[in-house]
C-alpha cells in the first residue's frame, strides 16, 4: 500500500461523523402492490449533501418523494419499512404530513414559481404557517441565501414568471429555504437549466450545506461527483451501493456501481 492511500484512509477516519437526520430502515415503496423501491436502508447525515444516482426509472425520485410524504398524492401508493426523523417514523399514524413537509422542504425538477410576485413567492409559505417575524428580513435573507437577492432586489413586486429559468429555480430554492427546513430535498433541480445556471446552483448547494442537510437526485454523475459528500447508487428499485462520494466514484465495492459510474451502461 502506498503512503498516499494510507494518508487517505487516515483522513477518512478523521472525518467527523455527523448525526443522522433521516434514518431509512428497509424502505419499500409500492405502486398498487408493485415495488418501485425495494428495501432501501441508509442514513442521511446532517450538513452533508447526499446524492442519489441511477438510470431512469430506478426509483430514485420515488424514494426522494417518500422522504417528505409527497407520494401521498399518488393513488395506490403504500410504504413499507420505517423512515425515522428525530426518532419518529414519518409514516406513523400519529404523524401529520403537513408538519413533515414544513420541516422537510422540496425543490422540483422544473421550476414552479407561483404566479405571484417575487416577494409573495417567498412570503407565502411562512405566512400560511404563522410566521410572526419581519417578513421583509426573511425575504431578503432567503433570496440572499439562494444567491438571487442582487438580481431581484429592485423588482420584488414583479411577477416571478418574468424571471429566467435559472432565476426561477433559485427562487424556488429561496422559497423552500424561507421555511427554514431541516432537510432540503432536490429532485433533479438542474435538469431543465442551461450549464451556467446549473453551475450557479451547484455553487449555491456548496454554501447551503453549512446550514442545511441536502438530498439531491440527479442523473448527472459529474454533478453528483462534484457536489455531494455521500452517494447512493440505485438500480431497479434497489440501492446497490451507498458510501462516501470519493469511494463510490473511485473505488466502488460492487461491479454494477463501477460499470455505471464509468459509463459502461445506463
Amino acid at each position: 500500500m502506498s503512503t498516499m492511500e494510507n494518508a487517505d484512509l487516515v483522513n477518512d477516519r478523521k472525518k467527523i461523523l455527523q448525526p443522522a437526520v433521516l434514518d431509512l430502515k428497509e424502505v419499500s415503496v409500492l405502486y398498487s402492490g408493485k415495488a418501485a423501491v425495494k428495501k432501501v436502508s441508509c442514513q442521511i447525515l446532517r450538513n452533508r449533501i447526499t446524492a442519489i444516482i441511477g438510470p431512469s426509472g430506478c426509483g430514485k425520485s420515488t424514494l426522494l418523494r417518500s422522504l417528505n410524504r409527497m407520494n401521498d398524492f399518488v393513488d395506490g401508493v403504500t410504504i413499507e419499512g420505517e423512515i425515522l426523523f428525530a426518532d419518529q417514523n414519518l409514516y406513523g399514524i400519529e404523524v401529520d404530513p403537513v408538519q413533515v413537509r414544513r420541516r422537510i422542504g422540496m425543490v422540483f425538477q422544473k421550476p414552479n414559481p407561483f404566479p405571484k410576485s417575487i416577494y409573495n413567492n417567498i412570503a407565502w409559505g411562512p405566512s400560511i404557517n404563522g410566521y410572526t417575524g419581519s417578513m421583509d428580513e426573511l425575504v431578503e435573507r432567503s433570496l440572499s441565501q439562494a444567491a438571487l437577492w442582487d438580481e431581484v432586489k429592485d423588482r420584488l413586486q414583479e411577477s416571478a414568471l418574468n424571471l429566467s429559468g435559472g432565476q426561477q429555480q433559485r427562487l424556488c430554492i429561496a422559497r423552500a429555504l424561507a421555511m427554514e427546513p431541516q432537510v432540503l430535498l432536490m429532485d433533479e433541480p438542474c435538469s431543465a437549466l442551461d450549464p451556467i445556471s446549473t453551475s450557479r446552483i451547484e455553487d449555491l448547494l456548496f454554501e447551503l450545506k453549512t446550514h442545511y442537510t441536502i438530498v439531491i437526485v440527479t442523473h448527472n454523475m459529474q454533478q453528483a461527483a462534484r457536489i455531494s459528500d455521500y452517494t447512493a447508487f440505485m438500480e431497479m428499485g434497489i440501492m446497490i451501493e451507498f458510501g462516501e462520494t470519493d469511494q463510490i466514484f473511485t473505488r466502488p465495492n460492487i461491479k454494477r456501481t463501477e460499470e455505471y459510474v464509468t459509463g459502461r451502461f445506463g
Binding site: F73, D75, G105, M106, N112, P113, F114, I128
Partner: protein
Amino acid sequence: MEQLSPIEFPVGKGSNTSIHKAGMRWGEFVIKIWLQVCALISLVTTAAVVVLLLVESVKFFKVVSPLEFFFGTRWVPLLEPSSFGVLPLLWGTMLITIGAAVIALPMGLACAIYLSEYASDKIRAWVKPTLELLAGIPTIVYGYFALTFVTPLLKTFIPNIQVFNALSGAIVVGIMILPMIATLSDNALRAVPISLRQAAYALGATSYEVTTKVVVPAGLSGVMASYLLAISRAIGETMAVTIASGQTPNLSLSMLESIQTMTAYIVQISLGDTPAGSVGYQTLFAVATMLFLITLVLNIISQWILSRFREVYD
C-alpha cells in the same frame, strides 16, 4: 479498388418531371364552397337579426322618447293611457338574475372545487355527467317544476307568497345555470398546473390552503368567465321565468310577488294579437335590442377574460 456503382433512385427518373398542377381537384372545390356557404348562413342570420332589431327599434324610438323608455317606471304598452318605461321589466330580469346568481355562483364554485380538488376519479366520472344532464332538461320543464313543486314548497314556509313569484323563478334558473358554472369552473381549476399544487404542498400547506390560496386564485379568470356566461344565460332565460314568475311588470323589491322579465314580455307580445306595425308591436324590438346588447356585452367580457386566462400558462 473496385468502383462502386451509383445508387439508383426510382423517384425523379423518367421524362415526367413536371411539377405543375395536373388539373382542378373538383371534390375539394365543391366541399370548400359548401363549407363556406354554411359559414355564411350563420353570419348572414346574425347580421339579419341585428339589422331587424335596430330598424324596428329606430321606428319605436321615433314615437317614444328614449328618455321615457330608459327612465320611466311604468310599463303599460298595450292599454290607454300607455306608458313605456322599461325599468319594471329590467328590474324583473335583474331580480331573477340576482336571485339565480346568489344560489348558483357559490354552489357552482363549490361543485367545481369538489370535482377538481377532492373527488376521486371514480366519483368524478359519475358526478360530472349527471351535472351535465341537468343542462339538458328542457327549460319549460323547469318552469313547470317551479310552478308545481317549488312554489307549493315555498308556500309551506312563506304562506303569503303569490302563485306566480320571482323567487321560485330565480331558484330554478339558479339550478339551471349551476351545471354551466360547475363544468366551466372545474375546467379552469383543472387547467392550473399540478406543479403549483405540489409547490404549495411542499411548503407545508393544507389541502384547504392549496385550494383557496393557490388553485382558485390561479384559475380565477376562468371562474369569472364562467360566472359571466352563466349570468348572461340567466338574463336570456325565457320559458321557465315566463311560467314561474308571471306577467306583471313590477318594480317591487319583494321576490314573493308576480313580476315580468324582458323575455317574458317578448313571449307575451309574440303570442298575443298586437297588430304588426303598431307601437305595442315595436316595443318587442326595443326590448329585444336591449336584451341582446346586455348579453352581448357580457359574452364579450367573458371571452376577453378567457383569452387573457389562456396566456398565463403558455
